[in-house]
């Protein structure tokens, strides 16, 4: 086996490893947002308490949608490893749709809050809420855009090692966002109802 193939084995190894390191820095960033939320969640400045604000049913729906999208993403990757272009594209499209639905639900919640006067400017607690949940939403948006690019790459280049390596990273990113959402659902919405 010639040197370049060995190199390439090392190469793909380092891409995935490097992406994991980036993901860990993203996790640290989210941790800081969680910490800020924990410090500021009670600072409602006379506004409504958290349990009065959050619609748990909506949050649960968002959770189920996002969890399902992780599932479809997993199916897309299985298809990609088997070289099945059509299936991979379809499952990524499904993931995209579910992710977009999640985003829609979230935006609807944000606008409902704002319409009732619970804007991010109203108090530190709401600033922290909108920023934590909103940053997750921004990451989802970036993931959705990445998914469109990935689908285009599958159509244009097929499921070559070059493309599959990128799909691996996209799916890791998507699952990571799902995990972060579980934390948001628990710490923000569920605990907000108990406190």
């Amino acid at each position: 086996m010639n040197e370049i193939a060995i190199e390439q084995g090392r190469v793909s190894d380092k891409f995935v490893f490097g992406f994991w390191i980036y993901l860990m820095t993203d996790l640290i960033m989210f941790s800081v947002l969680f910490a800020s939320f924990a410090v500021l969640r009670g600072a409602t400045f006379g506004g409504p308490a958290e349990h009065q604000l959050y619609d748990l049913a909506n949050a649960l729906t968002e959770t189920l949608v996002l969890l399902t999208s992780s599932f479809t993403c997993g199916l897309a990757m299985l298809a990609a490893y088997r070289g099945k272009q059509g299936q991979a594209t379809a499952w990524f499209a499904a993931t995209f749709a579910l992710g977009a639905a999640f985003l829609g639900l979230e935006l609807r919640e944000f606008f409902a809050f704002a319409a009732a006067g619970n804007t991010p400017q109203a108090s530190a607690s709401l600033s922290a809420f909108f920023t934590l949940v909103g940053t997750h939403g921004l990451h989802i948006s970036a993931g959705l855009l990445w998914m469109l690019v990935a689908i285009a790459q599958i159509r244009l280049k097929g499921l070559s090692p070059f493309v599959v390596s990128k799909l691996k990273r996209l799916s890791v990113f998507w699952h990571f966002l799902d995990i972060v959402w579980i934390f948001i659902f628990t710490i923000v919405y569920l605990m907000g109802h108990m406190l």
Binding site: K14, G18, M29, L33, A43, A124, L126
Partner: protein, 666 residues
């Protein structure tokens, strides 16, 4: 209509004050001079294809160092202005140039020390460090490039974009942030600092911080995944170890800086309430976040210097480093403890005796690995055969300053003492002792030590030693008065003071020291110029110092493929062992080499990010959308590019090697 087009920009933001006109003038003049030179020498294409678009860490390293030196010059000018203002700021003296005291009005003075701190930390020191790491780390581990060459280029260009943005206010805006290098709220919030200057601060740091984060990831993966066969972690040179520790710190704490600045920006741009005085905001949270980043940051700045000195002392003592394992654990210990000490920056914020004492003790613990390192260096010199080249002078100066600055640090680490020392000039003297005496002296030693490797000739020893003595005496003259002033109750960041305090003679002495340091800097420029003129007399082979680590196994200057064949490592001090057992000049087995192509994409991407930053500073919506869209397009286009690498075949390598050996047997 004008608001849609120009955001908050007005004609009043064009240069009209003496220093903005002066700075803009010199930037334009400098730019024209460089453009004229390039045109006359017909070197535009060369500059673009050989340097700016390069992904070669050896070139990127040099670009970092050049940029950092320029930023150091700017930061140094700021320092001279600070020294001058404080020497003239006594109430007994008249004011000049319209200022009530000294020659700068309070707001301008505050902008200058804010800029001084940010530029020295983010662009001066970080730039030098990433430069040295790019030049040295791949060679020390036997790799030809970093793990992600494009990302390396991107990290540099984001750094450059941040550097341009932090200087942008001279040309457009006229004011910088005036709230200290970390700009604590509520002072830095929308209510008390409504201008664009604060936003220049935020976005230049945010953009260069992103570049640093990407570089940190890059070095981390490189060191962990791309070492030559046989080089286990415990066989790595110490400079690589400390670069690894720095990279781990970068990767761990720069996200915290990103969040802290982002939340402040949300307050300023969207009127959110994170750090406001009312509405439930909590400025103390910013203080915590920024120092959770800030303290590890200063260790990021000095750790590589520890590594440099481990290399320098061992090499110039012609001896194995004493206590290699201890040195590694000391570096690891310093890095870990660094993340657990941040409250010591605000003992006086009122956290309580228990919290303060815990953090005080954790801070003191860092003195242990620090002292161990000093002992190990002395033990390395013991029974060595020491040659006192310039890097060893820097070492002796460094240890002296390190010990005194460290003592001051232990005092500051004691809350009860810190209550009397916090925010005084004693604190300023302490941290300058550390960043200059440890950080900067290490950088100077490293540059002197590795210069021949990069350029093929050594720097002038005579001028190097002159520069050293000027730096050392200048530093003592400039900062001993500050230790004394702090003991006299002088607060930091003060632009004027009553004559009765008796501060003025000490400030004047500090200014004299500052002038010595300025002379030192000029001497270093002379050193470079003289060295270039005398280079034929000072040609260096691959191993001018009779050194120990793998980078000296390559010729000087290093060919673009670094190693003709991947070295195999069997022990620490790999090159020294190779020289001892005779494998140093063994015939090489040539192999195909894959390297990353040059690309301008990093420049385009960073340019778009720069536009985005500028647009956010001035609230210009269309420009921001354009910048963001451009950046996204660049990323997408790059991700479609499958042909980012090129191959140098074994035969070509062999040919190049034979040519090189024909030119100069090394």
């Amino acid at each position: 209509m004008t608001h849609l087009l120009f955001g908050n920009l007005t004609l009043a933001d064009l240069p009209h004050k003496w220093f903005t006109v002066g700075a803009t003038g010199s930037i334009i003049a400098g730019g024209i001079a460089i453009a004229a030179l390039l045109t006359y020498l017909k070197r535009w294409k060369w500059l673009w294809s050989e340097w700016l678009t390069s992904t070669d860490p050896k070139k990127i390293g040099i670009m970092y160092i050049v940029m950092a030196a320029l930023m150091f010059f700017r930061g140094g000018l700021d320092a001279l202005m600070i020294w001058l203002q404080q020497a003239l700021g006594s109430g007994a003296l008249p004011g000049f140039l319209g200022a009530a005291h000294g020659y700068l009005d309070a707001s301008h003075f505050q902008q200058i020390f804010t800029a001084h701190g940010d530029i020295m930390v983010f662009f001066g020191t970080m730039g030098f460090l990433f430069g040295l790491m790019n030049l040295v780390v791949p060679l020390q581990i036997g790799a030809r490039d970093l793990a992600f060459p494009f990302l390396n280029s991107l990290g540099f260009w984001l750094f450059a974009a941040g550097a341009v943005l932090i200087n942008m206010f001279f040309v457009i805006g006229g004011d910088f942030a005036a709230s200290g290098w970390l700009s604590l709220p509520p002072l830095s919030g929308p209510e008390y600092s409504p201008g664009a200057g604060m936003d220049y601060w935020g976005w230049s740091l945010q953009i260069s911080g992103l570049g640093s984060l990407l570089s940190g990831i890059n070095f981390l993966v490189t060191i962990l995944k791309m070492r030559a066969p046989g080089m286990t972690l415990m066989k790595m040179p110490l400079f690589t170890w400390t670069s690894l520790c720095s990279s781990v710190l970068v990767v761990s704490v720069f996200p915290v800086l990103t969040v802290a600045i982002a939340l402040l920006w949300l307050d300023r741009f969207f009127g959110m309430r994170f750090f406001t005085s009312g509405f439930g905001g909590n400025p103390m949270m910013y203080v915590n976040l920024i120092w959770i980043w800030g303290h590890p940051e200063v260790y990021i700045l000095v750790l590589p210097s520890f590594g440099v000195f481990s290399e320098v002392v061992a090499t110039f003592s012609h001896k194995r480093l004493f206590g290699y394992v201890s040195q590694v654990f000391a570096a690891l210990g310093v890095s870990s403890i660094a993340c657990l000490v941040w409250v010591h920056h605000f003992f006086t914020m009122g956290a309580g005796a228990d919290v303060n004492a815990v953090f005080g003790i954790s801070t003191m613990l860092i003195a242990i690995p620090s002292a161990v390192q000093v002992f190990n260096w002395i033990a390395t010199m013991h029974r060595g055969r020491i040659v006192f080249a310039t890097p060893m002078y820097w070492f002796l100066g460094f240890v002296s300053l390190f010990m005194f600055g460290g003592m001051a640090g232990v005092l500051l680490a004691t809350p009860a003492a810190d209550y009397q020392l916090h925010n005084t000039l004693f604190l300023i003297a302490h941290f300058h002792t550390m960043v200059v005496g440890v950080g900067l002296f290490g950088i100077f030693a490293g540059i002197t030590y590795w210069f021949p490797k990069v350029f093929g000739f050594t720097l002038s020893e005579k001028w190097g030693k002159r520069a050293f003595w000027l730096w050392l005496t200048g530093f003592f003259t400039a900062f001993t008065p500050l230790y004394i002033l702090g003991s006299m109750g002088a607060a930091r960041r003060v632009d004027s003071y009553a004559a009765a305090t008796g501060f003025q003679p000490l400030y004047a002495t500090a200014l004299a020291g500052g002038l010595l340091i300025a002379a030192a800097f000029l001497t270093q420029i002379v050193q470079v110029v003289v060295s270039i003129l005398e280079r034929k007399q000072n040609l260096a082979g691959g191993d001018p110092w009779d050194a120990r680590t793998l980078e000296w196994a390559t010729p000087s200057p290093v060919p673009f493929y670094s190693f003709a064949s991947t070295p195999e490592v069997r022990s620490r001090d790999a090159w020294w062992e190779m020289k001892k057992d005779g494998t140093a000049n063994a015939p090489k087995k040539y192999e195909d080499i894959e390297l990353c192509k040059n690309t301008g994409m990093a420049i385009y991407l960073s340019g778009c990010v720069f536009l985005l930053g500028f647009a956010l500073v001035w609230h210009i919506l269309w420009l921001g959308v354009l910048g963001l869209a451009g950046a996204i397009v660049c990323v997408i286009v790059r991700s479609f590019d499958e042909h980012t690498e090129y191959v140098v075949t074994a035969a070509e390598v062999e040919k190049l090697e034979k040519e090189r050996l024909g030119r100069s047997p090394s």
